[in-house]
Amino acid sequence: MATSPNYGWLEPDNTDLVKNGALAIRTLGNAIDTTMATMTPKSTVTTKGDLVAATAASTPARLAVGNNGETLVADSSTSTGLRYQGNFAAGKNKIINGDFSVWQRGTSFTSYAGGYTSDRWTGTLDTSSAAVSRQTFTPGTAPVAGYEGQFFMRFTRGTGGTFCNVQQRIEDVRTFAGQTVTLSFWAKASASCTIEPYYIQSFGSGGSGDVSASFGTSTTLTTSWVRYSYTVAIPSVAGKTIGTSSYLAILTARITSGTNVDVDIWGVQVEAGSVATAFQTATGTIQGELAACQRYYWRAGGEAAYQRYGTGFAGNTTRVLFTFSPNQTMRTAPSSLDYSTICLYDGVTIIAATNVAIQTGTKACTELVVDVASGLTQFRPYEIMANNSTSSYLGLSAEL
């Protein structure tokens, strides 16, 4: 008798004279049956993308395919030792403060055309009847499992005008140039409202003209949180001239129809590829996200009635020079300064400031001038601080 080359089943040799064919066939059939019993039937996998994984030695089982964008990781707590999970890697999302956790400038804005609201977020609109405010999730009600957001943005459009949007300008027009990207976010609206996201490649001062287009899909929002995603190919920058302060603007909640409506938005993400993966902030950490925001805007204040900002000296009887170094290197030398309720203090007397301005500055260090009506002693050192108010602040802007 011979044996089969792979499983060693007994079978007649080519030259054998078979005396008991039935027995030979039965022996071979039983051997095949025994072997097949050790194999995984194809019915184990039922769905496109399913895998076969072991739950123990010689014990295969179906591992159902994960959701789009998920990756497979080892996990000894599961029956197969494997688990699909969302891609939470930091750095994939180019939107900073996509979870609206940072609001250095305040939490309510009744008019913001061209100005910034929640950190890194601005908007364009042709009506003054619009507002932005910070809203708080009731714990456990954030729209996505695995990421318990604290705040979301409410964008209110009243009446008048023909367009309004909230947008983020991602530094450097080279970002995603020539790549397919996917924008995703959760949104809901208080009333009927249609949005159509857009992008703008701005080549900066001295650069080529803007390139812009729709993500190609209009969405009618509902009153419940829903995650929406939009995929588009961002054009190459080949042949373009890139000037200073270029950016890629992503217009998210760009309302194309609907008035007197509140649009709530959270979890904004823009990533390479054609699949919206699990939401993650740009940096993946609280401190990282704040630092990322502070590259563009840095504010101190609001912590104590006489909060100190630093020390300077009087150049004359009405002006103090004050070197001010934010703890974050900024995108450029700050171009503007926000302030409120500032005073000077020499250890005895408090003198309210009348003006504060940037005299000169770099990305890492800015010299401010603090003016008062009168009463300073030339060359005397002064503390610059809040004037008995927790509403006091100093803020430097290097926004796009």
């Binding site: 364009t124 701005s202 171009s335 003006n355 010299e367």
Partner: protein, 55 residues
Amino acid sequence: MEKVTYIEIESLEGVQEHAIIDRGNGEYTSMLKSTYKAQQAEQSTPILSDESKTK
């Protein structure tokens, strides 16, 4: 309504004119006058240069 005043600041770099913008409620923003004028010009044509392309 914003109120804007202008002040001159002399430094090693020379004399520069700054805008002090009163935003109400004791809140102010200051910047170079040239920067302020540029921003005003942009807002008077509502980023509109941006948005007009979205029509």
